[in-house]
Point group: C2
Chain length 235, copies 2
DNA sequence: CGTTTTAACTTGTACGTACAAGTTAAAAAC
DNA sequence: GTTTTTAACTTGTACGTACAAGTTAAAACG
């Protein structure tokens, strides 16, 4: 069975974007250019671009072209409000634990499949601050299969997802969340520099990726007193 | 300027679904049927159906047809896990305040536009329980313009959104959330039957609708001890 | 009667054409 | 030199055709 023509063009362009040949804000080739370079009709070229639009890689502008965009914004991911995308970028991230092989932790709230349990896992933890104030602790686990040479490389622009995309061409395709309000444990309270038993927001996340059967698990602990967690969804 | 042909078909089918002429699980007319009834080509019929798919009204199945689906599931809305969609449906909702004209409440976290402030608003509040255990309190506000005869009608299947869709053909098109972990106030604690100062999850929501400039504001207070709040997003 | 084949449906992909509509920069008019 | 017009691009809509591929029930076969 042969790969669909539109799928071929779609994957070609996606790879170019992932590799950084087209930076955010730049324009992809026009529909007619794609037609001649791939020997296809506009119907097929349009279908490929339409799919990239659905996946959140591009925006399309009538009369102008297809513009590469920050994909993260198309995902309904939770984010600390006024964090990372905020204007005042006095935001810092420190590693509590650099990526390192380890064991699947019982702290993970989502159910881990048999296949994953049989593999070894990589763990890392980070603390995120606004100014000098710590606002979030983030524990992450993932199966270390397929990501050759992973624990040992630096994150591109400090972003794990960006590294996953550019180095391994793996994209986030979805996520599941579980939200709980809890009293901070002694450990968490100390790291967030808040009184013991302060209310904190505990978020358990299971990220789905373009690589089937490969998931990323995160447990987040947020001090929402000054920086609430935000989320937005639009059709 | 004339309405686009595909848009006409799209809106026609959408209205049929909203009015309940096509129930969830039933099939829409096939592409070829749409072609003959509307005197259009398959390209146009497909475009209309493709749009309904994007909006979450239908699923499409190769070789079978377009099936009407529960739209809620396509929206990245927060929901109480094991609630409403759960198997054991011993779930109940009681009104703390039936829909009634009132004032815009300062408890609303999102900014309310000038236009909205100049209009009067409708308020209602509900308590949701699993068995005998209260798990969530929900305060809602909306501008009462356009929804003629609203405060006074019963909710269809107890759902405000379903009522909005079937009676007024207004759909939820997106939402913004702000999440906070807080200590329960005396009032909230009493309603949720939990000790004063227990940690609760406070969610502020601004729903966007198909009716531009019309929003719904909610403030939710959840006891997540036994029923965490869930959310899932898929491409 | 039970199985296999066929035929008639469905949606999916891909071809080609034509014109509408938004954008932009060069050419023409003033 | 400034403004207006035009022309050359872009994407959007809509036409029509053909075949591929998934689904299902009736027809043919054993």
């Amino acid at each position: 069975m042969e790969e669909r023509r539109y799928k071929h063009v779609q994957n070609f362009l996606k790879l170019q974007i992932q590799k950084g040949y087209y930076v955010v804000g730049s324009y992809l080739p026009s529909e007619n250019e794609l037609c001649s370079t791939f020997s296809i009709t506009r119907t097929t070229a349009r279908k490929a671009l339409e799919e990239l639009l659905k996946e959140g890689f591009i925006d399309r502008q009538h009369g102008k072209g297809s513009i590469v965009r920050e994909r993260r914004k198309s995902l309904g991911l939770l984010n600390v409000k006024g964090f990372s995308e905020a204007v005042g970028k006095d935001v810092s991230t420190v590693f509590l634990q650099h990526p390192k092989p380890g064991l699947w932790d019982p702290a993970i709230h989502f159910t881990i499949s048999e296949t994953e349990l049989n593999e070894s896992c990589v763990h890392f933890a980070r603390l995120r601050r606004v100014g000098e104030v710590p606002v979030m602790i983030e524990y992450n686990w993932l199966a270390d299969t397929g990501l050759k040479g992973f624990p040992g490389i630096d994150f591109i622009e400090g972003s794990f997802f960006k590294t996953l995309s550019q180095h391994y061409h793996i994209e986030i395709t979805g996520s599941e969340h579980e939200l709980r309000a809890e009293n901070a444990t002694k450990n968490i309270a100390a790291l967030l520099k808040i009184p013991h038993d302060s209310p904190i927001l505990h978020i358990s996340v299971k990220f789905h990726t373009s690589n089937n059967n490969f998931f990323i698990y995160s447990e987040l602990y947020c001090n929402t007193e000054n920086y609430p967690v935000g989320n937005s969804y639009h059709l």
